[in-house]
């Protein structure tokens, strides 16, 4: 088997579309979970409403790309309000249950036959983002060391990383501001913050909205890069991939989501590629070729467990900053 090819594939995904999508999702999650301590288990829903807001605006309503992006962002804000208002006064695990339930509700509605004319059923919405590629400055395949991208991929990856940098800077500035200090104090001790006269509830709601809007850019990138919005892409697994990325990189660290996403996707794709190579060449014979794709979910499950048990602060984190507990 060709190890060089496996390596360059892994590197391509490690700095490519998947890494960008999950870095963005994890940046949003970092504001909510890392800094504020909110257990948002419905991050996939924020990505989904953004993607569908964009797709429906363009494909169904016939509006332009820019209007679609605004609709997507508004949808994410609305979702944060809907989720946050009833649950942020309650204990942390209630928010977890409600957000995961809301994400499932949205997925079921998006894929239903009833709303097929608008959301496209289980096939979703396809080929709607040609406008985006009109502005593509690249032509031909672009090689970055061993990694290589098609011209369209390179364009969306460029925009994606610019977004990642802008949002990371924003998180950095926010967390240095008085607002950020209140947010972190809420994570450490809600009652202490409340006794200082701050409205914990409204700060939490603000954090949920900001994190949701940041995460929703991941949905835009996913929708435009794949030229396709499929309901099952936005399953709960997406949320937990984002959690794994965040915890691996280091929650409550500005660079955590970026490092986590690059390392995690490089690792996943490398193991995927190596395994399918070894299975095809017959070196490993207890796994069938169609089972190789399942192995990444073993890695996802095991990394969530082992990281949370042995290194909850991840690669970059500070253990003292992460004393999360519900009651």
């Amino acid at each position: 088997m060709d190890w060089g090819n496996v390596f360059s594939q892994a590197l391509t995904q490690g700095i490519g579309i998947q890494a960008v999508i999950f870095a963005l999702a994890a940046i949003g999650l970092n504001v909510q979970f890392g800094y504020t301590g909110l257990l948002n288990f419905g991050q996939s829903a924020f990505l989904a409403v953004a993607a569908y807001g964009l797709g429906v605006s363009i494909a169904y309503a016939g509006w332009s790309l820019w209007v679609g992006l605004i609709v997507g962002i508004l949808a994410a804000i609305l979702l944060a309000l809907l989720l946050g208002i009833p649950t942020l006064r309650l204990r942390a695990d209630y928010l977890a249950i409600v957000t995961i339930a809301a994400a499932e509700i949205l997925r079921l509605v998006f894929r239903s036959v009833t709303f097929d004319p608008v959301f496209g059923g289980s096939d979703g919405i396809n080929r709607f983002a040609d406008d985006f590629y009109k502005y593509n400055p690249y032509s031909g395949t672009v090689n970055l060391g061993p990694a290589s991208f098609s011209e369209n991929d390179m364009w969306i990856v460029t925009i994606g990383w610019i977004l990642v940098v802008i949002l990371s800077l924003l998180v950095f500035l926010l967390m240095r501001s008085p607002w950020g200090r209140v947010i972190k104090a809420i994570r450490e001790d809600e009652d202490a913050v409340r006794s200082l006269g701050k409205s914990v509830y409204s700060y939490k709601l603000q954090a949920l909205i900001i994190g949701g809007v940041m995460g929703c850019f991941g949905g835009f990138i996913a929708a435009i890069a794949l030229q396709s919005i499929q309901p099952d892409y936005y399953s709960t697994d997406l949320t937990f991939f984002a959690y794994a990325v965040l915890i691996l990189g280091g929650a409550a660290r500005v660079l955590g989501p970026i490092v986590g996403s690059v390392v995690f996707w490089f690792m996943l794709v490398f193991i995927d590629g190596a395994l399918s190579g070894l299975v095809s060449s017959g070196t490993i014979d207890f796994i069938r070729n169609d089972q190789v794709g399942q192995i990444r979910y073993w890695i996802l499950g095991l990394s969530l467990m082992l990281l949370m048990i042995f290194r909850p602060q991840g690669i970059l984190g500070d253990k003292k900053e992460l004393s999360l507990d519900a009651r």
Binding site: V98, Q294, G301, L302, S303, A326, R327
Partner: protein, 419 residues
Amino acid sequence: MRRLLLAFSAVALALWAFVGGATAASAAGETIGGVIKTTDGGVPDVTVNVSDEAGFTEDAVTDDEGKWRVKLPGPGTYTVTLDTVTLPAGVTLTNPDRTTADVVVGEGQTKSVLFPTGEARTASESTLDRALQLTVDGLIFGLTIALAAVGLSLIFGTTGLTNFSHGELVTFGGLMAYFFNNLLGLPFVIAAAGAVLAGGLFGYLQDRFFWRWLRKRGTGLIAMLVVSIGLGIFLRYVYLFIFGGNTRQFASYSGQAGLVFGPIDITPKALIGAIVAVVVLVGTVLWLKLTRVGKASRAIADNPALASASGIDVNRVISVIWMAGAALAALSGIIYSMSLGVNWIAGFQLLLLIFAGVTLGGLGTAVGAIVGSIIVGTMIQLSTLFIPSELKNVGALAVLIVILMIRPQGILGRSERVG
């Protein structure tokens, strides 16, 4: 760490036995088949054509039982066409426009394609009759959820763990019953009993070697919640790896004719499953109210430190609760799979409904979990009167959110629990 590995390898070993069955099935090659029947039985001599874009085409003719089958050259997308001219007089399709179907067949898969005949059933039924039927279906579904919900609620009550891998305990029951019934060929009742015992053992081992170890390390509740998500994902995909992605039926009682009571149609297996569920649930509630272990578990739920100080062996009680909760979850999985088949993801699909039931009834109380689950189950089925059945779970989950807004402690919960 060694203990952890030990516990997992024991479970993995038990499940590994499936691999033999799974690979044997895949060696048979890809086929598409189906059965064409009316209420009077199978329809013979109907021609069905299977073709693909690469030029493969083959006709099959149904046998005396109405069955047909085509062996395929390999995985791919195939078009199945029913030749309506060959249908005997008096037999019409439920949907006359649907005479072709596109089927994607993966490696080693057997796909079935059905062409339903006769009038659509719903047309001839009154709304009241349908409501009655749905209420009965809903009660049975609710009882299935309740069995799993009790365990989730008890484990939350005694350890504070919101266990997102509880659904995998449900799946485990179905898978083990399949293993005993189909692969070892044991009679169904013995297979089910064995699966419940295996479920209890799985729960015990999980607590003894994993969760107790985490509690001892002082892992926080939120961290444990995330760990349970990781464990759930891991177990789910281990199940998929071993069992494969298909939904399979138990060897016993797979196609059972329904008993008809007036407007209500119910299969004997569903009725027996419901009776077993009621007996077990009543037994569990009495056990919690009357026995020493039951009382101790409620004491621990109130105040673990005080319970420990008054001489209760907290770890032993938690072990018993885990064992009982996992055994109940396994039973729930078996009853669910009797009607809907065994697959790798059943428990995960039930998980949110279990949460809805538990939250509706009040987190941490057994009776609340039962009442809440039965309401959720009934409501899901009844809601199909008004909304498309593909969206029925949406209604249940939406109610979960509404309940949290107006009465977060649930119907039977105490308000101070929520904080």
